[in-house]
C-alpha cells in the first residue's frame, strides 16, 4: 500500500480536516495512520496540541487499540483469523504455516465476519475465505 511521506505540515493538514469533530483523538490517529501508514512519534504531541488534550491522553488512546501502529507497516499486511469459528476449521495450523512463510507481515485477526467460510484471512484489506497458504500467497503484492 502506498502512503504519503510524513511531515509536520502534512500531518497538520490531516488534523485540520477534523477540527469540527466531537471527540476527535481516535479519529485523528486513524486518519494519520491512513495517510502515512502508521502513527509517527511526533504525532502524539501534534494531536495533543491541536485538540487541546494532554500527551498522556493521546498516548493512552494510541496504545489501547490494536489497529494503531507505531512502526511502518510491511508492504503486505496479512491477517489470519484465529477466533473460534476459524479455529474449528483449522486456523491454528494455518496461522502457524502462514507465519512461517511470511513472518512479520502476518498478524492475528479476530473475526472478519466470514465465519461460515473459514478459515478467513485479510490480505491488504481484501477478504479471503476458505483460506490456504497458497490463496494468501496469491493475494500478496
Amino acid at each position: 500500500m502506498k502512503y504519503s511521506t510524513w511531515s509536520q505540515e502534512a500531518a497538520l493538514a490531516v488534523l485540520a480536516t477534523l477540527r469540527e469533530e466531537k471527540g476527535p483523538v481516535l479519529m485523528a490517529l486513524q486518519a494519520l495512520q491512513k495517510e502515512f501508514g502508521y502513527v509517527h512519534k511526533e504525532d502524539v504531541t501534534l494531536v495533543a496540541n491541536f485538540f487541546n488534550k494532554s500527551r498522556a491522553d493521546v498516548h493512552g488512546v494510541l496504545t489501547f487499540y490494536h489497529d494503531l501502529l507505531t512502526e511502518a507497516p510491511t508492504d503486505n499486511q496479512i491477517s489470519v483469523c484465529v477466533a473460534e469459528a476459524c479455529q474449528a476449521v483449522g486456523s491454528r495450523q494455518l496461522e502457524k504455516d502462514v507465519k512461517a512463510k511470511f513472518g512479520k507481515e502476518v498478524h492475528d485477526g479476530y473475526c472478519f465476519g466470514n465465519c461460515a467460510l473459514g478459515p478467513s484471512a485479510m490480505v491488504n484489506g481484501a477478504i479471503i475465505g476458505r483460506a490456504s497458504v497458497e490463496k494468501i500467497a496469491k493475494a500478496r503484492i
Partner: protein, 509 residues
C-alpha cells in the same frame, strides 16, 4: 437481462468479484447487480438470473464455470450441473421466516427504488404520522428485545430516553460485531443498509434525537463502504438531514469506525471509543439512556434490533409478536458457523432447537467427522455437547441450560476439538481484550490461562480445577462488565460438559 452476483464480503471471499467480472466479459447485454447474499453461504458465489418464472440460481459458481454456464444458456435459466432451480423454492431458504432479513440478498442494496418496491420506508412513513408515545408503545408491545445479546426490551430503553429532558439526545447503533461466529450485522449492512438507517430514523423520531452514530468495526471494510454510500443516498433523497422526508424531524447520521478492540462492543466502552478515548468500560449507573454519549441521553441498540423496527412499524406489533415463544418474541437471525457443511443465516422464530438449526439446516460438520461441540452466543457463550441439542433457542431456555443466546451465533466443532484448549483460548482472549479497568477481568484472565495450562500439563489437576472454578466465580460476580463477567461461561461449560478433556491426560487423542 439482469444477473445477480452477490457483493457481500463472504461471497467476495470465495471469488464473487472475479465471477462478476467474468460474466460481464462473456455475457453481452447483461446488467450485473451486486446484491447482498441470501445467506446460504456454502452456495456462494450464488449467481441468479431473472427469468419469466422468477429468479433462477446457480452455485457455487467459479470463474471456470462461466463458459459452460453460457453454453447452457444460464442467462435464460438453462439447465446446468450447478443449477439450484428457482431461488424462491430453494428449501433451505424457503423454509425460513425472514423478517429482519427479508430483503437481504433480494434487492440491490443501494437502490432506494428497489428498497421501496420491497416494502422499505413504510415503517418510517407510518412513524412520522404517529405521536412519539404511540411509536414507543408499538415497539414495547411488539416485545422486541436487544439483539446484541443482553435481550433488554427495546421499547423500555426508548421510553427512558424519550422521558429524559435534554437539549441533545443520540441514537447509537452498536455495529461492533466482534463475536466469532456472528456475521448478521455485517450481512445486513452490506445487503440492506437502508433498513438500518430506517430503524435508526424511527428511533430518533421516537425519542427526540437528532444525531445518530453507527459504531462499525474496522474489520468490516466492505460494510463501511456500503453504509457510507447508503447514508449519502438517503441524504440526497431528503430522508436524512434537516427534514426527514419533509417532516418536522431532523436526523443526521454518521459512521465511526472502530480500531480493533473487542471490548468496544460493550456499550459503555463503545461510547468512550466514539468520544475518541480508550475503550474503557464505564460503571453503571448512570445508565447510558440517561447519561450516554457526551453525557447526553442515548439509545444504544444493536444493528439487528434497529433493523427489526421498520418491520414492527410497518406490519404492527401484533404480526411481530405472533412469532416466538414465552418472552422471546419474534424471530432471531441465527448464524451457523465454524465446521459446518451448510453455514449461513437462518432466520426463524425463537424456540427452534439447536438440533434443528445445526443438523437440520447445517447438515452436520464440514469435515465429515462426528460433531462434538457447539458454542452458542459468541466467545462468551457456552460450549454444549449433543446431549443439549434439544434445547430451545430462546433467551430463557438458553439461560436455564447454563448458556446464553447472545447475538445468535452458533459455532460448530467436530471431534478433533480439545475443549481444554478452547477454555484456555477464552481466558487468553479476555486477557488480550480486557480494558483493564477492573481487577477480576484484567488479572483473573491471565491467572485463568496459567491455571488451565497447569491442568493441561497434568499438574495437581483436581486442585487446579477447583481453583479455576473459584476464579470463575470471582470473575462472574466481580467484573464490571460482560467481558470479564461472561468469560467464565465458555470455561465452566467446557469443564462441566466435557470433563474428559480436563483430566490432564493426553490419552483422549
Amino acid at each position: 437481462m439482469k444477473i445477480y452476483v452477490p457483493g457481500d464480503s463472504a461471497a467476495i471471499s470465495v471469488g464473487a468479484d472475479d465471477v462478476a467480472a467474468a460474466i460481464a466479459h462473456k455475457v453481452t447485454g447483461a446488467t450485473i447487480i451486486r446484491n447482498g447474499s441470501r445467506g446460504a453461504l456454502w452456495l456462494e458465489p450464488m449467481v441468479e438470473v431473472e427469468t419469466e418464472k422468477g429468479r433462477v440460481a446457480y452455485g457455487p459458481v467459479s470463474v471456470e464455470d462461466i463458459d459452460s454456464l453460457v453454453a447452457a444458456d444460464f442467462m435464460h435459466g438453462g439447465a446446468h450441473a450447478l443449477s439450484l432451480g428457482e431461488s424462491e423454492k430453494i428449501e433451505w431458504l424457503a423454509s425460513q421466516d425472514r423478517v429482519t432479513f427479508k430483503r437481504v440478498g433480494i434487492i440491490d442494496p443501494l437502490s432506494l427504488s428497489d428498497y421501496e418496491a420491497h416494502g422499505g420506508l413504510v415503517g418510517l412513513r407510518r412513524a412520522i404520522s404517529l405521536s412519539t408515545e404511540v411509536i414507543i408503545e408499538e415497539v414495547k408491545e411488539s416485545g422486541v428485545r436487544g439483539r446484541g445479546g443482553a435481550g433488554f426490551p427495546a421499547g423500555i430503553k426508548w421510553k427512558t430516553v424519550a422521558d429524559a429532558i435534554s437539549d441533545q439526545k443520540y441514537i447509537c447503533c452498536n455495529a461492533d460485531e466482534g463475536d466469532s461466529g456472528t456475521f448478521a450485522d455485517r450481512m445486513l449492512i452490506e445487503g440492506d443498509p437502508f433498513t438500518l438507517i430506517e430503524g435508526m430514523t424511527i428511533a430518533a423520531i421516537a425519542v427526540g434525537a437528532t444525531e445518530g452514530i453507527v459504531y462499525l468495526r474496522s474489520e468490516y471494510p466492505y460494510a463501511i463502504k456500503t453504509l457510507q454510500k447508503a447514508i449519502d443516498i438517503a441524504h440526497a433523497f431528503g430522508w436524512l438531514g434537516s427534514s426527514v422526508l419533509g417532516s418536522k424531524h431532523a436526523f443526521e447520521l454518521k459512521i465511526r469506525v472502530g480500531a480493533g478492540s473487542y471490548v468496544c462492543g460493550e456499550e459503555t466502552a463503545m461510547l468512550e471509543s466514539i468520544e475518541g478515548k480508550r475503550g474503557v468500560v464505564r460503571a453503571k449507573p448512570p445508565l447510558p439512556a440517561l447519561e450516554g454519549l457526551f453525557g447526553k441521553p442515548t439509545v444504544i441498540n444493536n444493528v439487528l434490533t434497529l433493523s427489526t423496527i421498520p418491520a414492527v412499524l410497518a406490519d404492527g406489533a401484533g404480526a411481530y409478536k405472533a412469532r416466538g415463544v414465552g418472552r422471546s418474541l419474534g424471530t432471531q437471525v441465527f448464524q451457523l458457523a465454524g465446521n459446518i457443511k451448510c453455514g449461513g443465516i437462518v432466520e426463524k422464530p425463537f424456540g427452534i432447537s439447536i438440533e434443528e438449526v445445526v443438523n437440520g439446516y447445517g447438515g452436520g460438520t464440514l469435515s465429515g467427522l462426528p460433531l462434538r461441540a457447539v458454542q452458542v452466543g459468541g466467545p462468551l457463550g457456552a460450549y454444549f455437547g449433543i446431549d443439549k441439542f434439544e434445547t430451545s433457542l430462546d433467551y430463557e431456555s438458553m439461560l436455564a441450560a447454563g448458556g446464553m443466546l447472545g447475538h445468535g451465533g452458533i459455532v460448530v466443532f467436530d471431534d478433533s476439538v480439545d475443549l481444554a484448549q478452547q477454555a484456555r483460548f477464552a481466558m487468553s482472549f479476555c486477557a488480550l481484550e480486557s480494558c483493564g479497568k477492573c481487577t477480576p477481568c484484567r488479572i483473573g484472565s491471565t491467572r485463568g490461562v496459567e491455571t488451565i495450562d497447569l491442568i493441561i500439563q497434568g499438574v495437581k489437576v483436581d486442585e487446579n480445577k477447583k481453583l479455576l472454578l473459584d476464579l470463575c466465580e470471582v470473575m462472574t460476580d466481580g467484573s464490571l462488565c460482560a467481558m470479564g463477567g461472561l468469560t467464565p461461561m465458555p470455561v465452566k461449560s467446557a469443564m462441566i460438559n466435557f470433563p474428559e478433556d480436563f483430566t490432564g491426560e493426553v490419552s483422549r487423542r
